[in-house]
Structures are given as structure tokens and as C-alpha cells.
């Protein structure tokens, strides 16, 4: 009597779709952020998950204390030079696929802290997918950024892994010049001999032995 009965009557039992669409849909529907509150922007980030704003409506409410369980890192606040290696280490500990949101003026460009102690933009350390202006941004802006990131995730391809772009990712990139990962990189180049995601499947291992 529920919704599933109506759907089962209306739809066939088998649906065909692109694998990218299915996987990206699964990925974007549960973006788990890593807890990385650095400054006052973190207060707005906490507020974005509270009852009034409720980021959980878009499948992104579970802030994980461990980077091993997180998909997206929200850099909320100014990054000091002493914190920079720590941030990079946490980013490296996150499993692929992973994304970064640079929240606020300080994380994006250093903000008003134009001095020796603050990294002038977190994109000097990690590749950033979405930038949010504001000092601090309102929770609505963070939610908007998460939804923009979801749109970006939907344009990606399974073959277009960040491992290919690792050399580019470690460069200090200018904001807005990060390669768009919609699969075009993998299509333009001929496919590599070995797959970038290194673990061979069980069938392949059996065949080689």
C-alpha cells in the first residue's frame, strides 16, 4: 500500500542507466564532511547542521571525527602555517573520492590576515572544489556550496580518478583553474594500460597466476 507498490506497478523491474550516473548519485547523496573547524566559520558550519538550517535534508549531515570516514573536507576558517601540514595530512588520510570546500574569506584567500602567520588561501595546500565568500558565510551559503558540490559530483566519471591528477593537485593552483573532472581528461587521453585504481579484481588475479 505504500509508495513502493505504486512504483512497482508503474515501472518495469529492470532499469538501465549509466554506471557513472548511478555511482555519482550514490556519492552525492551521502557527502560526509570531516570535522575541521578552524575559526569563527566553524560556528556557522555547526549551525548549518542544526535544526533551523538542517543540512541533513541534502544528505550531508554526518560530520565525522575521523578523516578515514569522510568524503568532503570543509576548511572553515583561517589556516595558520603551523596548521598547514596537519591539514594536508588529514586530507591525505581521507579515502578517495574526496572533495574540499573552502569556506569563508580566510580559507579562500587569507582574508584580512595578510601576514606571515596565515596561509594565503588553502588552495596552496589542497585542491579546492568549491569556494565560499563571506566573513563568515551564512549557513545558507554553506548549504548552497554543498549543493554545488553535488552538482559537480554528478558531472564526474568513475574513470576520472583524482589519482591521475595527483601531480596537478600538489601544485599550488590559482583559484578557479582546477581541472574540471567531468571525465574529459580520461576521454582525451588514451586509456592507460593499467587502471589507476590499483587493486586488481579477484578474477584478474586468478587469470594472471
Amino acid at each position: 500500500m505504500g509508495l513502493e507498490n505504486v512504483i512497482a506497478e508503474a515501472l518495469p523491474e529492470v532499469l538501465t542507466t549509466r554506471l557513472d550516473s548511478l555511482i555519482n548519485w550514490a556519492r552525492k547523496s551521502s557527502l560526509w564532511p570531516a570535522t575541521f573547524g578552524l575559526a569563527c566559520c566553524a560556528i556557522e558550519m555547526m549551525n548549518a547542521t542544526s535544526a533551523r538550517n538542517d543540512l541533513a535534508r541534502f544528505g550531508s549531515e554526518v560530520f565525522r571525527a575521523s578523516p578515514r570516514q569522510a568524503d568532503v573536507m570543509i576548511v572553515s576558517g583561517r589556516v595558520s602555517r603551523k596548521m598547514a601540514p596537519v591539514l594536508r595530512r588529514i586530507y591525505d588520510q581521507m579515502p578517495e573520492p574526496k572533495w574540499v570546500i573552502s569556506m569563508g574569506a580566510c580559507a579562500t584567500s587569507g582574508g584580512v590576515f595578510d601576514n606571515y602567520a596565515i596561509v594565503q588561501g588553502v588552495d596552496k595546500i589542497v585542491p579546492v572544489d568549491v569556494y565560499i565568500p563571506g566573513c563568515p558565510p551564512r549557513p545558507e551559503m554553506l548549504i548552497h556550496a554543498v549543493m554545488m558540490l553535488q552538482d559537480k559530483v554528478m558531472k564526474e566519471s568513475v574513470r576520472d580518478r583524482r589519482d591521475i591528477l595527483e601531480a596537478e593537485a600538489r601544485e599550488a593552483v590559482v583559484p578557479g583553474t582546477l581541472p574540471i573532472t567531468d571525465g574529459s581528461t580520461a576521454r582525451q587521453n588514451t586509456l592507460p594500460e593499467t587502471r589507476p585504481y590499483t587493486i586488481a579484481s579477484r578474477h584478474e588475479r586468478r587469470r594472471s597466476s
Binding site: R81, K82, D114, N115, Y116, V119, Q120, K124, A172
Partner: protein, 177 residues
């Protein structure tokens, strides 16, 4: 300041050039005349400029002397008076007595070419991190410190960032490679 003020309170305006030190400072000067270079009493605060060679013995004396009993080092900080100043650096010791409720400030002047001063961690153990901070930001070397290394800035930092001639944006742009 629980300490009684100078008896001739009206004479401050009449003769500002050579004010009489407060009785406690005068008693300290009588006790150790070579330990006081200059006395500055202004705005209800007492500041003594002391010779840097004997700072550790001065502090241990003031901690145990029955008249002062400065059992608490409330702050220890450095200051850069300017690149052209001579002496350029100073280290300030803010003393407080939890039993007598009075405060003194001791000031040590340092030249840039000999920026060494004795550590007072043997007197107050809380001076440990304060001296590390002063070393970190000003480059003042505290002789006899048990563990003198940077505390606030990254360990591979170049320079001392609160010096007046340190560039505001640092010596080089930063990116993690």
C-alpha cells in the same frame, strides 16, 4: 596597589623631575643599591630597571624577601624598542605577591649583539614557557633554560617574527610541496 603611596602626594606635580621612590623601593635600594639602575613610578605602577647580570639573584631575592614576597610571576615578555635604539631589546618581568597583593615590574635592557640573559626558571617554574615564547618571537636567549626551543611558530621557522625589522608577510611566500 595595597602599598602605601608616597607621603607627599601633592609634590608630584611640583617636582616631577626627581620624585622620591616609595618606601618599599627605597628599602630595596638600601638593601641592594647596586641592583637598581633606574626607578620609574608612574600611573600607580612601579618599574625597576635592573642590571641583566644579576636578574636571577634579584628575582630569587624578591621572591623570598619578607617585604616583597613576590611568589608569582604573572608575566614575562620581551619588547623591541626599535631597530635604531640602543639598547634595542628589553625583557619585562611582572611580579605579583599573592600574600601582599602588590606588583612590580622588572626591566632588563639587552643589546642586539649580546642578547643573552639568565633564565629565571629556577625561581618560578612558570617562566619556562614564557621564556620560550620570548625566545621564539624576539630571539632572546635565556641562559640556563632547560628546554629553549620554539613554542608558537613552526619549528623550521626562519627569524623572529615580533622584531620590528621582520617583514609582515614573512621572508617567502608559503606553499606546501
Amino acid at each position: 596597589m595595597a602599598e602605601p603611596e608616597k607621603p607627599e602626594a601633592s609634590s608630584i606635580s611640583s617636582q616631577p623631575s626627581e620624585p622620591t621612590p616609595s618606601p618599599l623601593v627605597a628599602a630595596f635600594q638600601r638593601e641592594h643599591p647596586d641592583w637598581v639602575v633606574q626607578v620609574i613610578e608612574a600611573l600607580g605602577e612601579t618599574t625597576l630597571v635592573v642590571p641583566k647580570e644579576s636578574i636571577a639573584s634579584i628575582c630569587s631575592f624578591l621572591k623570598t624577601w619578607s617585604e616583597t614576597r613576590f611568589d608569582f610571576l604573572s608575566d614575562l615578555c620581551g619588547a623591541d624598542r626599535g631597530v635604531e635604539e640602543e639598547p634595542r631589546f628589553e625583557v619585562n618581568y611582572h611580579l605579583f605577591s599573592t600574600t601582599k597583593h602588590h606588583r612590580w615590574r622588572l626591566k632588563v635592557l639587552l643589546n642586539e649583539d649580546n642578547i643573552h640573559v639568565d633564565s629565571v626558571t629556577g625561581v618560578w617554574r612558570t617562566a619556562n614557557w614564557h621564556e620560550r615564547e620570548t625566545f621564539d618571537l624576539f630571539g632572546v636567549v635565556f641562559d640556563g633554560h632547560p628546554d629553549l626551543r620554539r613554542i608558537l611558530l613552526p619549528e623550521d621557522w626562519q627569524g623572529h617574527s615580533l622584531r620590528k625589522d621582520f617583514p609582515l608577510r614573512g621572508y617567502e611566500p608559503y606553499s606546501l610541496k
